[in-house]
Amino acid sequence: MGTVLTITMFSLMASILMTLVRALKGPTSYDRILSVNAIGTTTVVGVVVMGFLKGRPDFLDLAVVYALVNFVATVAILRFVEQRRLG
């Protein structure tokens, strides 16, 4: 089972790498926001997979926090881009 989880982890990291290239290239800021959001979701899944890979599924609390924080960060950036003000 550990092999399957390790392969999944590597494919998630490959996905992060490709999305990261798009975040570095741009060209518009919306591409970057989209890439950050996709990397955030992939990281949440990666945290869960890593928890099972280590045999400690207690790490799932971390993934719950991440899923919420990632959404908040995306909303903050979008409010800045769209309305030029926060809150």
Binding site: T6, I16, R32, T43, V47, F59, V65, Y66, R85
Partner: protein, 234 residues
């Protein structure tokens, strides 16, 4: 090479790429978002090191609060850096020298999980000779219970505790002679952890938890401030 080491190396490489991207991109908004990616990757690295509390703080501070604060700062500044990226040679030299010294320092460090590391050797004989949690030759399991501690400390007339507790490094340390002088009667460590790092962490556990709670509370407050409804200003 274990797969955890390989994952760690790949994640650190990705984090290095993101860091170079942060300092080389012109748009400040892009740098802010790349900083968010950096902290996400760092949290995966912390989790790979089994440091879940640090990963928690990184999630709340790095990906959440610092992104919101930096975006709020961007509202009052321009969106672009006004100078072209140039290499400042003395700064680069300083950074490279410091990094080289740090890497040189890690060569002398013990291996990860090495039992003969200095933090273990101080009390590792006691660790091997302790009775709590083990089954002795008579088949008696020395369980760690609060009730026995309470009973025996009443009838024992406990002496004053001293910190740090006096160590006993004798070869004949069986734990019977002075066992239970401090802490649990069956505890050969007199209520302290055998691992130095663990005992330090336990001693400052309250501050650690207090500031982590403060961080999480701040993150929650920022979430409320960001997502609340408010009437439109004209």
């Amino acid at each position: 090479m274990s797969s955890f080491l390989l994952i760690d190396m790949i994640l650190l490489g990705l984090a290095a790429v993101v860091a170079i991207g942060v300092i080389s991109v012109r748009s400040l908004l892009s740098a802010t978002m790349l900083g968010g990616i950096y902290s996400l990757l760092m949290a995966l690295i912390w989790q790979n090191m089994n440091a879940v509390d640090v990963a928690f703080t990184e999630a709340a501070v790095g990906a959440g609060i610092s992104t919101v604060l930096l975006v709020g700062t961007l509202l009052h500044t321009r969106r672009e850096t006004n100078q072209s990226p140039a290499i400042h040679w003395p700064a680069l030299l300083t950074v490279v020298l410091t990094g080289s010294f740090l890497i040189y320092g890690t060569v002398d460090m013990p291996d990860y999980g090495d039992a003969s590391a200095p933090i273990h050797t101080g009390r590792v004989q006691q660790l091997l000779g302790q009775r709590v949690g083990k089954v002795d030759n008579e088949g008696v399991h020395h369980a760690w219970t609060y009730s026995t501690m309470a009973e025996q400390s009443v009838e024992r007339d406990e002496p004053e505790r001293s910190f740090p507790p006096e160590r006993s490094h004798g070869e004949d340390h069986g734990g019977d002679a002075e066992a239970g002088a401090h802490g649990h009667p069956n505890d050969d460590f007199k209520g302290h952890s055998p691992n130095t790092v663990t005992s330090l962490l336990a001693a400052y556990r309250g501050y650690d938890t207090m500031y982590e709670t403060a961080v999480i509370f701040t993150a929650g407050m920022a979430m409320v401030l960001l997502l609340r409804r408010r009437e439109e200003r004209a």
